[in-house]
């Protein structure tokens, strides 16, 4: 009998519970959540805000999940510190919980820029169900909103607000949307689609001040211009929730540093999901890839390893898929290269008329990145070529062709093909 403790009740935490229970039906599992909601599909909150899905679709697992898996769930339980020497955690409410094996899956929190007015009522991140419901509550009295940041969360927020009939301006510091996932050219396709659907995009500007006594009335840009907004959503990225280990001897960088087993430098403490720093196979460095599918995979491996397995994690990479107003967009691994960088090669196909853009980034004979806009059907194959580090030279001239497909990979993959006899 072991005593498992998991901090965090989202993708990584839930996936770890399932992994542990598939091996160990008996041991105690305690799951702590800083939120007041059973495990939900975090990436769906913008769809919920948009009114595209009902609240019952938010739950990631059925309500009986915790009982069925014999998990003791504590909601509204925030851990303030981990004490690896005593194998226990201390919560904000001063309770202490001990463990034999600990998984830190505390996720991340929105970053708020330090500007005047940022603490005002009416300024939100879009991270939790609570955020979503609070924003939703203000919509009946909201005519215009400003979104700070043109990343995935910012654009999803803008999309949702627009769908709800609110005028939206997205203020972006860089010269393009989705600068952490697309190159300049691909970003133009997305920007155009957003603008055609009534979302204003303001590039190269920062919000300097949020104006209003009591209620928010406007925002002021770095150019000095102001525009009306009574609701602000901040999408300026997230930072890993690592405060709970800052006094412990747990190694951190941007996130909590993990090894191949997703173990921290303390053997009975693991980390997974948005809080974990893992080896990124495309950039070749340790990085935080705060993404749902990455968290699910890491949670499963960490959970299994906590039961005594020794499964190696292959490493992470940035993978994003999003659709705005009928324009699907996928980004994998390296999405931008320095003009001066001659070690990387780009294969590109761009057709503004049909709204299609494809760019593949190669290092030698290996694919290390892809951007696909409009036509994403081959994205899974590109991801496979990246992950399995397959020498693409025999199919290099086929990669961007319309009829490129799995049969082209047959001679290159290691697994013996079983379905084609």
């Amino acid at each position: 009998m072991k005593n498992y403790l998991i901090i965090g009740n989202s993708a990584a935490g839930i996936s770890a519970v399932e992994a542990i229970r598939s091996k160990d039906k008996e041991s105690k599992i305690t799951l702590l959540s800083s939120e007041d909601y059973p495990g939900y599909c975090r990436c769906l909150i913008s769809y919920f805000l948009a009114g595209q899905i009902k609240e019952d679709k938010l739950l990631y697992r059925p309500e009986s999940f915790y009982k069925d898996n014999n998990v003791e769930l504590f909601l509204n339980k925030k851990v303030s510190r981990v004490d690896p020497k005593k194998n226990k955690v201390v919560c904000e409410d001063r309770t202490q919980i001990s463990y034999d094996q600990l998984l830190i899956a505390t996720g991340s929190s929105p970053k708020f820029p330090e500007i005047q007015g940022i603490k005002k009522k009416g300024v939100f991140g879009l991270r939790t169900v609570k955020d979503t419901k609070e924003i939703d509550g203000l919509l009946p009295i909201t005519r215009a909103a400003a979104v700070l940041g043109g990343g995935l969360v910012g654009l999803k927020a803008a999309y949702a607000l627009k769908k709800r009939g609110v005028d939206v301006k997205v203020v972006i510091k860089s010269d393009q949307v989705l600068s952490q996932m697309l190159d300049f050219e691909a970003a133009l396709f997305v920007q155009k689609r957003l603008e055609e659907n009534g979302i204003d995009v303001v590039l190269g500007q920062d919000v300097k001040e949020i104006i209003g006594e009591g209620d928010i009335r406007a925002v002021k840009l770095s150019s000095g211009k102001t525009f009306e907004a009574s609701l602000i959503v901040v999408g300026k990225g997230v930072s890993p929730n690592i405060d709970l280990v800052k006094d412990a001897e747990i190694k951190t960088g941007e996130g909590i540093v993990t090894d191949k087993l997703l173990q921290t430098n303390v053997p009975n403490i693991y980390a997974s999901g948005d809080v974990a720093e893992t080896f990124d196979i495309t950039i070749g460095k340790y990085a935080v890839n705060a993404l749902w599918p990455v968290a699910i995979e890491q949670g499963r491996i960490a959970g299994a390893n906590m039961t005594g397995d020794a499964i190696n994690y292959d490493g992470s990479l940035g993978i994003n898929s999003i659709e705005f107003f009928g324009l699907p967009t996928v980004s994998l691994g390296i999405y931008k290269k320095d003009k001066a960088d001659t070690s990387l090669e780009e294969l590109k196909l761009s057709d503004a008329k049909s709204g299609k853009y494809k760019k593949l980034t190669l290092r030698g004979n290996l694919l290390i990145g892809a951007i696909l806009v409009g036509d994403i059907k081959s994205s899974g194959l590109f991801l496979r070529l990246i992950r399995e580090k397959i020498d693409i030279s025999p199919i290099k001239d086929k990669l961007l062709e319309e009829n490129f497909g799995f049969p082209d990979l047959l001679e290159l993959i290691k697994d013996k093909e079983k379905i084609y006899v």
Partner: protein
């Protein structure tokens, strides 16, 4: 459990399986009515060619399904009993994560319906429609164990 196999040498690339698939998943189930339906039914399988051979490509219902892991809406569930990756359409938001991670490129986005096109092994029927439709018997529906 039964799975789809393909005898590549027999496949002519005639795409009869694609047509049969689209018809089987249409509202009417009738080839001559399909084109007039409000939502055009699209095939969940594609015949692709490489080096002179033709290969029908569709969801394999992997035992270790990457799409299920990636689905941020919990719209995909692997049913161990039926061996099918079930797609719960009411939960799907059309984010295309499943398309992005399928190692076989076997799931395609239907941008209009906002639902992925993926083989469901014609689960309500005795055998998938593509099996009967193949004029050369290149599509084989059999137990996994007896396959070569």
């Amino acid at each position: 459990m039964k799975k789809l196999f393909y005898e590549v040498k027999k496949c002519l690339g005639c795409k009869s399986c694609e047509v049969a698939c689209a018809v089987a998943h249409s509202a009417s189930g009738d080839l001559f009515k399909v084109f007039h339906e409000e939502k055009l039914s699209l095939p969940r399988k594609k015949v692709l060619s490489s080096k002179g051979n033709n290969y029908p490509v569709s969801c394999r219902h992997c035992k270790d399904p990457k799409c299920v892991d990636a689905c941020m809406a919990a719209a995909l569930v692997y049913d161990t009993k039926s061996g099918i990756v079930e797609h719960i359409e009411e939960r799907c938001v059309g984010c295309w994560m499943c398309v992005m991670v399928c190692p076989y490129g076997a799931i395609r986005p239907n941008i209009k319906s906002k639902l992925p096109l993926r083989c469901d092994k014609c689960k309500d029927k005795l055998e998938p429609a593509c099996v009967k439709a193949c004029p050369t018997q290149a599509v084989i529906w059999q137990e996994e164990e007896v396959a070569r």
